[in-house]
């Protein structure tokens, strides 16, 4: 190497070093709250957004009339000034609004609320329309009062309908009018690109640098500023938020440890906890979730059309094993479709299949159940001497050999827990001679197979964010929803259940409705169209050295209460 080369190399090194130091120094000058996102938000079009990351951003901007307090016991008025006033006819509600302003300073009025609700009804916007189709009329009585007239009394109106985000008429009127003239109005509305969403929330979007970050600033017009709602004094006390995109949680965890972000807004795997706990400035939150992870059966065809076999499977599945190993203890077993945390609606007196039994006892129990139901083996799981052995040649009560069956699971990259649980369940079922094999499938293909084609034996799926209102019980198992793309994926038909479900939807009296919901849970636990398996906990990690005030609630700390209350340390 000549002298010239060496000098050049040294210069290069120097440049790299300067670069490294300089960029580290630059980061120190301001104090934004920095949050890691798992993926880029899909869109800022609130009607199109259905993914967690878009919703994370939009939840700072578009606000509902009512929302749950962190304690989850009650709904508190948010954009509304007080609880809805129901008139004597039982179908007319009147809601007073707070004096609020949009982030551009213009006034938030009843017309905006009416516009939003009509928009949903006119465009039949997916995911929202079902909660609004029973609303007959929406009227702006005056600037600060909205009146809703329902077609019939509806139990879910307050909890499910009045929690939709309100958009501004100014922002959407033209878009909606233009879309209506198109051949495909809904698609046009969905494909409308929103650059700077106009909301009433605590933050406004400053810039979205595609593929890299989103920059939000405090909304000076935020209606809640300085107010005390749900017993909490609202800020925001943070000037700016930077949302950075990290494609993999591993890197996000490194960023957290390094101090490049203050919070990672996505549940993390339990595997990280041990290491994160060694960092004094990192705090782990483990929160309850309202979710359901379950094994679903196809009741439309053998072999799982037989409840006995479904119950046998329920006994064979060792939920505790899955929770302890796969979830590393961060989760709890489920016996009802409703999570146990939903204390008001949850029925605690349900059959706990296989609870407390060890492997051998489970196999014996299943042997008994199946024998009684008329199943036979060429080699039974329990031999004549009462010893457990590998079973083979399981025959259905009608004498035919059980065909090999598959358990569909999402792929490991989508959710390793479900993929591995599938493999475990496969092994357990085989112990009783049920020729099961787990088959992970791409998520889209899996849903197509299960929801649209109904061509499957069993599957493992989950619902991430179930509402607190248990109306979904009806949607999952009412025979009305057993059709293409319906949510009754098992094909469960039970007239008794249907009747109770329909009643529960319309019963306004809470206690009476609770009894119906209890009954529904019982029926499902008896017939096992779905076998609830586990309820994972939401594990989140934050740094405590720069910001404090995270509010823990159901589904974790990433909620509007946190963002309204976070404030810089010192």
């Amino acid at each position: 190497m000549t002298v010239g080369n060496r000098t050049r190399a040294a210069l290069l090194l120097l440049c790299a070093a300067v670069l490294a130091c300089a960029s580290a120094a630059w980061a120190k000058s301001r104090h934004p709250l920095r949050i890691g996102l798992g993926e880029e938000p899909r869109t800022l079009n609130v009607w199109m957004a259905s993914d967690a990351n878009s919703n994370n951003i939009l939840s700072q901007i578009y606000q509902p009339l009512y929302r749950h307090t962190p304690e989850e016991t009650e709904m508190v008025p948010w954009l509304a000034a007080g609880p809805p006033e129901m008139e004597a006819d039982g179908v007319t509600y009147q809601v007073r609004l707070r004096p609020a302003r949009w982030s551009d300073g213009s006034a938030f009025t009843a017309a905006d609320v009416a516009f939003t609700c009509r928009l949903i009804k006119e465009f039949k916007i997916p995911r929202h329309y079902s909660r609004w189709k029973f609303v007959d009329r929406i009227e702006a009585v005056d600037d600060r009062t909205v009146r809703f007239v329902l077609k019939e009394p509806m139990a879910i109106f307050l909890t499910r309908s009045l929690t939709i985000p309100i958009v501004s008429e100014k922002e959407w009127r033209e878009v909606a009018d233009a879309a209506k003239k198109q051949k495909k109005p809904l698609a046009t509305l969905f494909n409308h690109t929103v650059e700077r969403p106009l909301g009433t929330g605590p933050f406004v979007l400053e810039k979205w640098h595609k593929g890299a970050f989103l920059h939000m600033k405090k909304n000076d017009w935020f209606f809640g500023q300085g107010l005390r709602i749900g017993g909490r004094l609202l800020g925001p006390f943070v000037g700016e938020i930077l949302f950075k995109i990290y494609g993999t949680s591993d890197v996000a965890m490194l960023a957290l440890k390094k101090g490049a972000i203050d919070m990672y807004w996505q549940g993390i795997q339990p595997g990280y906890i041990e290491n994160l706990e060694q960092h004094p400035e990192i705090r782990i939150f483990s929160s309850e979730r309202s979710a359901l992870y379950y094994l679903g059966f196809n009741l439309r065809r053998p072999p799982f059309d037989d409840p006995a076999l479904r119950r046998a499977a329920a006994v064979l599945v060792d939920k505790s094993f899955i929770i302890e190993r796969v979830l590393q203890g961060y989760g709890s077993r489920m016996d009802s479709i409703l999570p146990a945390g939903n204390e008001f609606w949850y029925n605690p007196n349900l059959t706990e299949y296989g609870e407390g039994l060890n492997r051998e006892q489970r196999i014996r129990a299943v042997h008994r159940i199946l024998k009684e139901a008329g199943y036979r083996w060429t080699r039974p799981p329990v031999d004549d001497a009462g010893k457990v052995q590998p079973a083979a040649g399981l025959r259905l009560p009608d004498g035919s050999l059980m065909e090999p069956l598959t358990i569909l699971t999402p792929p490991a990259d989508y959710d390793p827990h479900r993929a591995i649980s599938g493999l475990l369940i496969q092994q357990w079922l085989r112990q009783a001679g049920i020729p099961a094999s787990a088959r992970p499938m791409s998520f889209g293909a899996l849903l197509q197979q299960v929801k649209a084609r109904h061509d499957f034996d069993a599957f493992i799926l989950g619902y991430g964010r179930l509402s607190l209102d248990p109306d979904y019980l009806r949607i999952f198992f009412h025979s009305e929803f057993d059709r293409e793309r319906g949510w009754n994926m098992s094909g469960y038909h039970n007239p008794e259940f249907d009747q109770i479900a329909e009643a529960s939807e319309k019963t306004m009296d809470l206690e009476a409705r609770r009894l119906l919901i209890y009954k529904m849970q019982e029926i499902i636990a008896r017939d096992v169209p779905y076998l609830p398996i586990y309820l994972p906990r939401e594990i989140e990690a934050v740094r405590t050295d720069r910001f404090a005030g995270w509010v823990q609630m159901l589904e974790g700390i990433g909620n509007i209460w946190s963002f309204c209350q976070l404030s810089p340390v010192n």
Partner: protein
């Protein structure tokens, strides 16, 4: 140039083959790269063979289903688990050994198939000429510009999780054009050699000429390319599994990395992260080294195309 031709001629003549083999072996062994490659590969072959042992010792050493009843989270190396356990208590060493078996299986079978397609198409294309040649080579061009990993990724994400054999087949289906180009070129030079002309004059059928006369002469070249294809097959399978599109019923090294990645142990459990990565790299290295050493023995002039992969 001269040496190359001479060697090729020796190849064609059966009489010289034994001498050539002995000489080739000496040349091969003299090459440090060939030696290292062979030794490495022998180690991995041993690993693959040893993979049958642990499950026999104790069912908890089954790489897929066996879990240590005492352990329910990832642990480092211990007496019972020399490389530690994964997060549900499976033994990492037995997974690593099983992975060696899978890697050999995937690598060799995918390579074999792609060489099979490539050689067949190359010979037909070169021998038939004209329209068939143009058609096959245009198809080859087209397949060649497809980034194999992305294509297989698309296919496996579209059609659900693929079985390991499907993955192998797909890799083979997209890795033949390079081989067939080289084989075609070689066939073209052979086509007008006297012994082929002679065979044609004596009325041998096309099939007979291709398989009896051309095939033995392109075989060494095909074998050489096989070693390179083995490496690319192993890498593609591993990358696929790493991204979560592998066969979940199989314990491959890529799957192990996927587990360590997706369960959040990536930077927490070096005893789990490092071995599969090192193994993938070293096994592909060993095949590659073998190929390079073989190449120097076979003919230093035939390398250009295969190597960029």
């Amino acid at each position: 140039m001269k040496t190359g031709n001479e060697q090729r001629d020796t190849l064609a003549a059966p009489a010289g083959r034994r001498d050539w083999l002995a000489g080739g072996w000496a040349l091969f062994w003299e090459n440090p790269i060939g030696k290292i490659g062979l030794i490495l590969m022998a180690c991995f072959a041993l690993m693959a063979a040893a993979s049958f042992v642990p499950p026999l010792l104790d069912p908890m050493y089954h790489p897929m289903h066996g879990v240590d009843p005492e352990i329910s989270h990832a642990t480092g190396p211990s007496a019972a688990h020399w490389l530690g356990t994964d997060f549900i208590g499976r033994d990492i060493l037995s997974q690593l050994l099983a992975g060696a078996r899978i890697a050999f299986m995937v690598g060799l079978s995918a390579a074999f198939m792609s060489i099979f397609f490539g050689t067949l198409i190359g010979m037909i294309s070169g021998y038939a000429g004209r329209f068939v040649d143009t058609l096959l080579m245009r198809i080859a061009d087209m397949v060649m510009v497809m980034p194999t990993l992305l294509v297989v990724l698309i296919l496996s994400s579209l059609f659900g999780q693929l079985r390991i054999w499907t993955i192998v087949l797909l890799i083979a289906l997209f890795r033949w054009p390079g081989v067939s180009r080289v084989i075609r070129a070689q066939t073209l030079t052979l086509k007008h050699r006297p012994f082929i002309e002679a065979a044609r004059v004596t009325g041998a059928s096309h099939l007979r000429i291709i398989f009896r006369h051309i095939f033995p002469n392109v075989l060494p070249l095909a074998l050489l390319y096989m070693t390179f294809r083995v490496t690319s097959a192993i890498i593609i399978e591993a990358a696929l599994a790493f991204l979560g599109f592998g066969d979940p019923g199989t314990v491959s090294w890529g799957m192990m990395l996927q587990w360590v990645w997706k369960t959040g142990h990536m930077f927490q459990a070096p005893y789990w992260l490092l071995p599969p990565g090192i193994c993938i790299s070293l096994l592909t290295l060993s095949f590659y080294m073998l190929g390079r050493a073989m190449e120097e023995v076979l003919d230093p002039r035939l390398r250009k195309e295969g190597e960029s992969e």
